[in-house]
Symmetry: C2
Subunit: 420 residues, 2 copies
């Protein structure tokens, strides 16, 4: 184990882990109804062209556009109604010159027609005697007007859904449109979560005097699940080297990464470092990250698997879980995640109501409440006080992110906040 107490910026810590590990290769096939939020495993190309036929986008009359040329309220065009175009079946009518077919939204354009005149731009006149019905067209329709043409949505052979996309409702809709009802997705990365500490008991146990309940297994597990991973709970190990190593090794064996939540005391950190060194090569990459709260975080790679040793303090552990573990899970799960990524739609910009002090060279995360003013602008109000308490986070809406290079944020600034 390196004797140097190396502290690196959080972005660098994540990038180093990202560089040294591989995405989960396992895939599984799930029905569309279970694919929301899963990561598409392979590029999906359209096997057919959509729409497969020209369709009307309006209620009105299918016409030959040339027949409506120059038509206006002052000088209407008159067409003979040639029949109805029902929805869902191939039209039997053909639109020959100076005729029109009555058509509904979504129906196939009949042969001969190349445009649709909206019903609002027409009058219908019962004919006198002949049994024919006359359509008065009050506006010209250009070629293709109010018509969805073949292939306008997606062309056969085109990339429909790229690999690595976390599937959204619209993506699932695109697959349904193409008749794809099951999709190959990446397996969810398995993240082993091991709590340590002689003073820590399970959340369901009654702590003795001087003991506390395990909070981190729950918060880290929820963060992993939200990022698309599977939390594999490995219980609580004592601060004893052999027992801890055995538990860590067993946890990492069946998982793609290991998150330890250990104490922050120097002796416990040393213990964590020794354990991690024994788990695989190259071992510990950093003995701390430049973040507050959360500095005493161990960053390691053990035989290609990321290992993150979180501080034992619940608030610190959760902040580092957000900053490092969350993008790591997304990356392992097959998404393209850049070095400094928090960009999964949980970041907002807000106007800062009170100044926040910080120190350059360190990312700070300050709990805040969020509120929209009457004009719709979002305001962030820092919650000062003991930021290392879990209920400080429970009472907060978000965390204000103070960038590495800033010595603080001024009231009135537009700042980035991370919604919990």
């Amino acid at each position: 184990m390196s004797e140097l107490f190396t502290v690196i910026p959080p972005g660098q810590a994540f990038a180093t882990l990202a560089h040294g590990c591989s995405q989960v290769e396992r895939t599984e096939i799930v029905p569309l109804a279970e694919a929301l939020g899963r990561v598409n495993a392979a590029d999906i190309f359209a096997a057919e062209t959509l729409p497969a036929f020209a369709r009307s986008t309006m209620d009105g009359y299918a016409v030959r556009s040339a027949d409506t040329h120059g038509a206006s309220e002052q000088s209407p065009a008159y067409l003979e109604l040639t029949g109805d175009v029902p929805t869902g079946i191939v039209p039997t009518v053909t639109v020959v010159p100076r005729t029109a077919g009555r058509i509904h939204t979504g129906a196939m354009l009949p042969q001969g027609a190349d445009a649709v005149v909206m019903v609002e731009d027409t009058n219908q006149h019962p004919s006198t005697g002949s049994g024919q019905v006359e359509i008065e067209v009050l506006a010209a329709a250009a070629h293709g007007e109010n018509v969805l043409t073949i292939g306008e949505d997606v062309a056969r052979g085109a990339l429909a859904i790229p690999a690595g996309r976390r599937l959204r409702p619209a993506d699932l809709g695109g697959l349904a449109a193409l008749g794809i009802t099951a999709v190959e997705v990446r397996a969810r990365p398995r993240i082993a979560i091991l709590s340590t500490g002689d003073e820590v008991v399970p959340a369901g146990a009654a702590p003795g005097p001087a003991q506390v309940r395990d909070v981190n297994a729950t918060t880290v597990g929820a963060t992993v699940e939200r990022a698309g991973g599977i939390a594999v709970h490995c219980g609580i190990a004592p601060d004893e080297e052999n027992a801890l190593l055995e538990a860590a090794r067993a946890g990492l064996k069946g998982a793609d990464a290991l998150v330890l939540s250990a104490g922050s005391s120097v002796s416990v950190r040393d213990l964590t470092g020794r354990i991690v060194e024994a788990l695989g090569r190259p071992g510990v990459l950093a003995h701390g990250i430049a973040i507050k709260p959360g500095k005493p975080t161990v960053i390691a790679l053990c035989d290609g698997k990321p290992v993150v040793g979180l501080p034992g303090n619940p608030a610190s552990a959760l902040v580092v879980a957000w900053r490092i573990v969350r993008p790591l899970v997304r990356l392992l799960g097959g998404e393209a995640v850049d070095d400094d990524a928090l960009g999964d739609g949980r970041e907002l910009d807000a106007l800062l109501d009170l100044s926040v002090p910080s120190r350059p060279g360190r990312e700070d995360y300050v709990p805040c409440t969020l509120e929209r003013d009457a004009g719709g602008a979002l305001h962030a109000t820092p919650v000062f006080g003991a930021s290392n308490l879990i209920f400080t986070l429970v009472r907060a809406d978000a965390l204000i992110a103070v960038p590495l290079d800033r010595s603080g944020l001024a009231a009135g600034e537009r700042v980035r906040v991370i919604v919990q």
Copy 2:
């Protein structure tokens, strides 16, 4: 059925539905590991005080602060080491005047001590002869310094987690800290989803000529699930009044709300209106909403249950599902959702790269791509073209929201976008 074709703003449509329906009263008890994203059913009060004992937040020495008064590098205080304070058990040492106990982060403060001096602010000197060890204290510690006091996190009887909160990782951590391992949550609202249209076939079927696959069941179902609801799929009904009414009635019977996705043609809209009128009182509240795309949306309340008739067009249906169905599901599910709410962390502010035309009196939703520039600012670039196609949404990152009262948005403006 009202003969008037009433078009109301989307916010008013949602508010009217919200006013006329009730939240789901059913609850269920789930373990913490399954409670992420569920809505807490009842106020939860702390049954105990946390921390339950004063704890050290640092590695160092537990002292009586008075003994360190005035201590500095130039004028250290000297204390006799009285013993170790192990973590996780009640300390056996007592700190009497002019003594100090060695303590680790998280350990219980021993009797007599009221502060902790960080190890960095001390030197330890082996004594000569007596077997005693002397601690040199280089900085004064104030009363309570580096100590987490009893009740600093949460006090017994305090509101720990309010009813109506969608549970986040930190909330689950707070519950774990209190020893609460299962939580009563609102049942997920059940939303019946019924597609209609003679031209519509299931996504898994091969469409005949002039037929299309059902996209809306998938996209609306995914939107409902993401908002915390259960999508109850009721299949596809033909455009025939009796069959449609029967399917709608059966769907609504076992559900808390019904979402119909119907065609947008006038005759189909009339049919939808008649069906909805027959489902319960007061029936149709609006025959359209001032939104683009999505205007031909039917808003109704049938015997206390919301019914939304979406346009058949997939993109329109999805936009209205975002704007109306999503907050409705959250509201039914027990969250406090305000009239005009999109505020579930999927809204971002971005700088608009190109001007977007609109019309006052209508909310417009324009597909866009999102990109961060080198300085970290988020830019939205509108994707123009056929916005009523599902693959236009597949290719987009978000939708730019043009407010009701605006005649367009100018390039360079800060705008609100809704991440898909």
